[in-house]
């Protein structure tokens, strides 16, 4: 990868002017992406894709801070979009990459993000096909904002919320709350940042392996647990299916230090954002097979069944406590924790 900087050592407005400095910056980004970038610098990417159904998604990324302990905004921008494609059953193929840069951002920091984008793309098996770079004045963005759009293809039946059935088991592929605690700890220096790391990861490989193991059918629907946390996902499914979903508090996978931090901060881990956790709805007879397949993957070692979709025709989410009592998990009106992705 080439990484030499011959122009200014920080982003300046002229890097977004479309003139010579713009071209130099784009070349630097393209060189850093290396073989992950397969665009041809035309105004549009021209792509060959297999005939049939495709999946598309887009997401913008404004995470604060953009650089954290075990990742950065570039990694999140790839993983977030890849995971959105993967959870509907598509194979992620291509990403676009839009960047909005604040003047003064060191070029080395920009290239750190681009390197993360390259590494995450390689792991996820996707390629960057086109991009855009804009530069704004100091204070108009916070260092760097990204947008990625993704395209995937279906090589199997899509996974949909409408296929969830009463009796389905609800499975989480990993611990919840860590991404939120890690970022909040770095923002304020809370002391948890080395003990609790972000879970940000591309999960398409794990999902591929799972579906190859179980075959089509037992896994009815999947969501990645991001903004709004587990509670938001469960509410989404309760509304979409019209059914009551009940989870068991004691089974929720929450790291001890994350329990400490969320208790300190007065937040509930079920509302905390994650970047590398799947929530799966699977046929009851496939529960153990799914758990075993997830646990065999590096990102699924903490996989656990947390509850089930009941037959009750009321779209609510219940939490069962240790005494067997159920309480309703209310959907949050908003969030006091902005910019986690």
């Amino acid at each position: 990868m080439a990484s030499s900087v011959t122009g200014p050592d920080e982003v300046v407005l002229d890097h977004g002017s479309g003139a010579k400095l713009s071209h130099e910056l784009v070349s630097l980004i393209v060189d850093t992406l290396g073989d992950v970038y397969i665009g041809e610098m035309e105004d549009s990417a021209m792509l060959s894709i297999p005939a049939g159904r495709i999946a598309m998604t887009t997401d913008s990324f404004v995470v604060d801070p953009p650089f954290f302990g075990n990742g950065d905004i570039g990694k999140i921008a790839v993983c977030g979009t890849v995971n959105d494609l993967a959870v509907v059953g598509a194979r992620p193929l291509y990403l676009t990459l839009g960047m909005i840069l604040e003047t003064g951002l060191p070029i080395t920091r920009l290239l750190q993000v681009v390197t993360s984008i390259r590494e995450a793309s390689l792991e996820a098996g996707v390629r960057i096909v086109c991009g855009d770079t804009k530069v704004v004045r100091k204070g108009e963005v916070d260092q760097i904002y990204l947008n990625t759009a993704g395209l995937g293809v279906f090589e199997r039946a899509p996974l949909r919320m409408r296929d969830v059935r009463p009796g389905d088991r609800v499975i989480l592929s990993g611990s919840i709350g860590n991404h939120t605690v890690h970022l909040l700890s770095i923002r304020e220096g809370l002391g948890f940042e080395q003990r609790v790391l972000s879970d940000c990861a591309p999960l398409n490989g794990m999902l591929d392996e799972l579906l190859a193991t179980t075959g089509e059918g037992p896994v009815h629907s999947v969501r990645d647990v991001t903004r709004g946390g587990l509670a938001a996902v469960l509410h989404e499914y309760a509304q979409a299916t019209g059914l009551t979903i009940r989870v068991d508090r004691a089974r929720l996978p929450i790291q001890f230090e994350t329990v400490m931090a969320t208790d300190m901060l007065g937040i509930n881990a079920i509302h905390a954002a994650n970047e590398g956790c799947l929530c799966l709805f699977v046929a009851p007879e496939a529960e153990q097979e799914v758990l075993a397949a997830l646990r065999s993957h590096r990102y699924g070692g903490e996989a656990v069944a947390i509850g089930e979709v009941t037959a009750a025709a009321e779209p609510v989410v219940l939490m069962r406590d240790g005494d067997g009592r159920d309480s309703v998990i209310e959907e949050l009106q908003g969030s006091e924790l902005p910019r986690l992705c």
Binding site: D64, E188, G189, L190, G191, Q194, D263, M264
Partner: protein, 196 residues
């Protein structure tokens, strides 16, 4: 047996005199707080003052109502209050809530052979709590004297002390800490109950 160090948090004019309520609670605590520091010094335990300095480019630093940034390096408001300082004390700059976050604190304590920290200062539910948690994660035996930590709102302090006691620290008032040192010659490390 390792050494014991006393850590203070944010005993600085820009912090202590921020609100009348805070000034009042510090004034109430000051006599026994400084007496405790003096007694610990007399027993040979070093006092480390964590000095909060806001970095100009920190977007999360709390600004004054007029938009200016308090706690700037070299300003009077950032200095440790003289009433709490003594010869032999060590001042350690920090830029975030925890006194261990990207500071020299851990290295200094390790070099001095410290394995037990007594965390004091303000505010209990922010800097004291996070510094204590961070110390716990780094393997220190953590004690918090309940009468040498303050918060604007006493309810915040009480909730924080409950949290500290529940997760990572031994909470006792300063006289109990001194009595424990007298009777046992050390501050025993508690067995922390971890959640499943």
């Amino acid at each position: 047996m390792g050494k014991i160090a006393v850590l203070t948090n944010d005993l600085q004019g820009d912090v202590v005199y921020l609100t009348p309520e805070r000034t009042a609670v510090i004034a109430d605590a000051q006599p026994h707080y400084t007496a405790f520091l003096d007694e610990m010094r007399r027993r040979g335990h070093t006092v480390y003052h964590l000095q909060l300095i806001n970095l100009p480019d920190d977007p999360n630093a709390n600004r004054k109502a007029d938009g200016t940034l308090p706690l700037q390096r070299g300003t009077e408001g950032a200095e440790i209050l003289p009433a709490f300082l003594a010869d032999g004390d060590v001042v350690v700059e920090k830029n975030k809530d925890s006194g261990f976050y990207e500071t020299e604190m851990h290295d200094l304590l390790q070099a001095a052979g410290v394995d037990t920290v007594v965390v004091t200062g303000l505010q209990t539910q922010i800097c004291v709590q996070t510094t204590a948690a961070d110390a716990f994660f780094r393997g220190y035996n953590v004690w918090v004297p309940s009468d040498c930590v303050v918060s604007d709102n006493p309810a915040d302090r009480d909730r924080s002390l409950t949290w500290l006691s529940g997760y990572c620290a031994t909470v006792a008032d300063s006289s109990e800490i001194l009595e424990t040192l007298d009777s046992k010659g050390e501050l025993p490390r508690r067995v922390v109950k971890t959640l499943p």
